[in-house]
Structures are given as C-alpha cells and as structure tokens.
C-alpha cells in the first residue's frame, strides 16, 4: 500500500468497528455538554420518523370517508394490518381492538426507524443504538405487566407468571426463579437486544461490503481492484436483504409484545 492509500484507508475506517456507530454532533458548541447527543444524525432520523408518521396520518385521515380515497386506504391498511393480523388475531376481538392503536404505533415506529438503515445518505438505523430498542422494550414490559396486574392483582399476576400449572411441587424451587427471570426480567432485554443486534449487524454488513469495495479499489493489483465491483454488488444485494430484516424485525417486535400482553390477559390456569 502506498502512503496515500494508507491515509485513505484510515479515513474509510476499514474494517468497520463499533466506532462506525458514532456520529458527530451537529452543533460543535454543544460538544462538551449533555445536549451533544441530542442533536445528531441519529436523533434527527428519530424526529423525522415521528414527523413523517404524524404528518402522513393526520393528512391522510383529515376527512375520513366510508368509501376511502387512495391515501386514506393506505393509512387504513397500515392500521388494519396490525389490528387484524396481529392484535385481533392474538388477543381476540375486544382486547385486540383495545390494544391495536398502541401496537400499530409501535410497528410503524420500528419499521420506519429500521428503514433508515437503507436510506441513502443516512444508512444507519437509530435502532442500531441500543437506547431506542431499550426504550421500546421497557415500554412493552411496563404495558404487559400493568395489564396483568390490573387483571389478576399483583400477587395473582406473580403467581400466574411464575408458577407454571401442573408442575410437581418439589420442582418449584427450580422452576419459580427460572420463570420469574424469563417472564419478568429477560423479556424486555431480549426484545431490545434482538432488534438492536439485527440493525447493528445489518449496518456492519453494509459497511463491510461497501467500504470493502473502496479498500479493494485502493489496491495496486488491477485484478483486486476489479473485485471491488463484486463487493459493491454484494452491498446492493445485502441492502435488499436488509429490507426484509427491517420488516421482519418490526413485525417480530410487535408480535412478541402482543403475545406478552395476551399472556398477561389470559385467564388463570
């Protein structure tokens, strides 16, 4: 490698690492204050996500009609998808309709946040920062516990979640801690980690192929330079793959939250 190539490679930060997830704050004057993390590309993407969703839905549903217009239909099918295929399907008609609005917000928010991973010039999802999935995971945790305690009372809910029915009593000392850990502690953690890890990995993979292409291009060997095209092609393929992950992870997050709520609402065994 020549010296200039070395410098370039350093600028490109190849191979990508955890540093690749750090973003410059937008206002240098705030760099040393607590506000530094509030104005970044990541938070901008979050605000833009929320703004897009709010503006679209308010605009599309300004004048709802029995026979929907195209945009009204679009808004309705977004809500109807979560409402009918997730919420009502899992929770039943009454509770399903009750929780559908929150679950739809959750789904739309996660989808759009994930979507930044493949939007040109941004190409990183806020969800690849653990803070956002963690917030959503904790919210889901609060909701399903609150719903369970409302329905069964605190002790009744604890008993329901921690003591599996039909198990022999002598195995309780082993079962109860496991169930407690699994149902009341780990659920939000796994929710958050699953989403975070998928988006994090997706970002890394895109970086590997795209930055890798540039790195190959800096080689002195013509053949290796040519291989960079293959690397970019893979980068594009991975972008499509990422699109699937984006939708799938949003769906999984929403579906699991619904299932947890359903578990809390279930009648005592």
């Amino acid at each position: 490698m020549t010296d200039s190539a070395k410098v370039l490679a350093e600028e490109l930060h190849f191979p990508p690492g955890t540093d690749s997830f750090n973003f410059r704050d937008w206002f240098p004057g705030l760099s040393d204050t607590a506000l530094a993390n509030v104005f970044t590309t990541i938070t901008f993407a979050v605000w833009l996500t929320v703004a897009i969703l709010i503006v679209f839905f308010l605009w599309a549903y300004r004048k709802p009609q029995i026979v929907p217009t195209k945009r009204q239909w679009l808004a309705e099918s977004a809500y109807g998808f979560v409402r009918d295929t997730v919420s009502v399907e899992v929770l039943g008609k009454k509770e399903g309709v009750r929780f559908a609005p929150y679950l739809t917000c959750l789904f739309l928010f996660v989808v759009l946040m994930n979507f930044w991973a493949i939007v040109p010039f941004v190409q990183i999802s806020p969800n690849s920062h653990i803070a956002f999935p963690a917030t959503l995971g904790i919210l889901s945790w609060v909701i399903y516990n609150y719903v369970g305690i409302r329905k069964h009372g605190f002790l009744g809910y604890l008993k329901m979640t921690c003591v599996p029915p039909g198990a022999p009593v002598f195995i309780y000392p082993l079962l109860i801690p496991i169930e407690f850990l699994q149902n009341l502690i780990l659920r939000p953690v796994t929710l958050a980690l699953r989403l975070f890890a998928n988006m994090f990995a997706g970002h890394l993979i895109l970086l590997v192929f795209i930055l890798g292409g540039f790195t190959l291009l800096q080689s002195d060997n013509l053949f290796i330079q040519g291989v960079s095209v293959v690397s970019w092609a893979f980068g594009i393929a991975m972008t499509f793959f990422e699109l699937i992950v984006i939708l799938l992870q949003a769906y999984v997050f929403t579906l699991l939250t619904t299932l947890y709520i359903q578990g809390s609402l279930a009648d005592e065994h």
Binding site: N22, D25, A36, T49, P64, I66
Partner: protein
C-alpha cells in the same frame, strides 16, 4: 466525536440522552396517532360495517317485497285465467243453448208453415169440390133439360145439343181456369 461506544460491550450501554429523545418522540407519535387518528379509523370501520350491513338489509327487504309482489301478481293472473275460462265456458253454453233454441223455433215455424199450407190446400180443394159439385149438378140439370127438349126434335138435334153442351162446358172451364189463375 460522540463516543457512545467505548469499544466491546460498550455498545450495549444506552446513551441516556437518546433514551430521552426516543421516549419523547415515540410518546408524541403515540399521543397524536392514538388520540386523533386511530379512534377515527375505528369509527370509520364501524360506519363502513353499518353501511354494508344496512345495504344488505335494505336489499333483502327489497327482495322480499319484490317476491311478495310477484306472488300477488301470479295469484291475480291465475284468478284472471280461471275467470276467463269460466266466461268462455258460459259463453259456449249460451251459444249452444241459443242455437238449440233457434233450431227448435225454426223447426216449429217450418212445421207451422207446412201445416198452414196443408190447411190451405185442403180448404181450396174443399171449396173446389163444393163448387164443382154444384156446377156439375147445374150442368147435369141443364144437360138433362136440353136432352129432354131435343128428344122431341130428333136424334140429330140431340146429338148436336150434347156436343154444344160439351163445347160450352169446355169454354166455361177454360174461362174459369183462366179467371182463377
């Protein structure tokens, strides 16, 4: 540079500012959509279901009404057909009766006419016979008188008288026949 991640497991430690931003942003999204959009969607769904169910109900009602009307018309049509058949039968019976009556009266008329003809003929004949009888009587008396008168005058005269009488008689019957005609 913001160093959210200090390498390794550091990426798993959330930046608290981001949690705040995420919570506020998501909270705002939930608030707006759950307050202003989704309840209205539910209302629209309900209105739509109402509209569709109402439409189906209205269609069913209309269908039922149409069926009733059709039934009524069929009944009326059947009634009308029966009535028409009855009228036709009656008319046919009337016609037969009328024909019968006409035939009977015609036959009676004919019989009467024939009977009257017979009576006439009989009367004429009677009259003729009566007239002939008196005529023949008179003639016989005339002839007898003439014969008796001539006997005296001779045989030839008698013969002439008879011949004359017969010729007269002939003339009389001829003139009488032409007169009767």
């Amino acid at each position: 540079m913001i160093h959210a991640a200090e390498g390794g497991a550091g990426i798993l430690i959330p930046v608290w500012q981001e949690i705040v931003v995420g919570a506020i942003a998501f909270g705002l999204l939930c608030f707006v959509l759950m307050k202003f959009v989704f309840p209205r969607m539910e209302k629209t769904f309900e209105a739509r279901v109402d509209a569709i169910e109402g439409g189906i109900e209205r269609a069913e009602k209309a269908q039922e009404e149409a069926n009733q009307t059709l039934e009524e018309y069929r009944r009326k049509l059947a009634g009308a057909q029966e009535e028409a058949a009855a009228i036709r039968d009656e008319a046919r019976a009337d016609a037969v009766a009328a024909k019968e009556e006409i035939l009977v009266s015609a036959r009676e008329e004919a019989n009467r006419i024939i009977a009257a003809g017979h009576a006439n003929v009989e009367a004429s004949r009677q009259q003729l016979v009566r007239e002939l009888r008196s005529e023949v009587g008179n003639l016989a008396v005339d002839l007898a008188g003439k014969i008796i008168g001539q006997r005296l005058a001779g045989e030839t005269a008698t013969e002439q008288t008879v011949d004359r009488f017969l010729a007269e008689l002939n003339d009389d019957t001829a003139s009488e026949a032409s007169g009767a005609r």
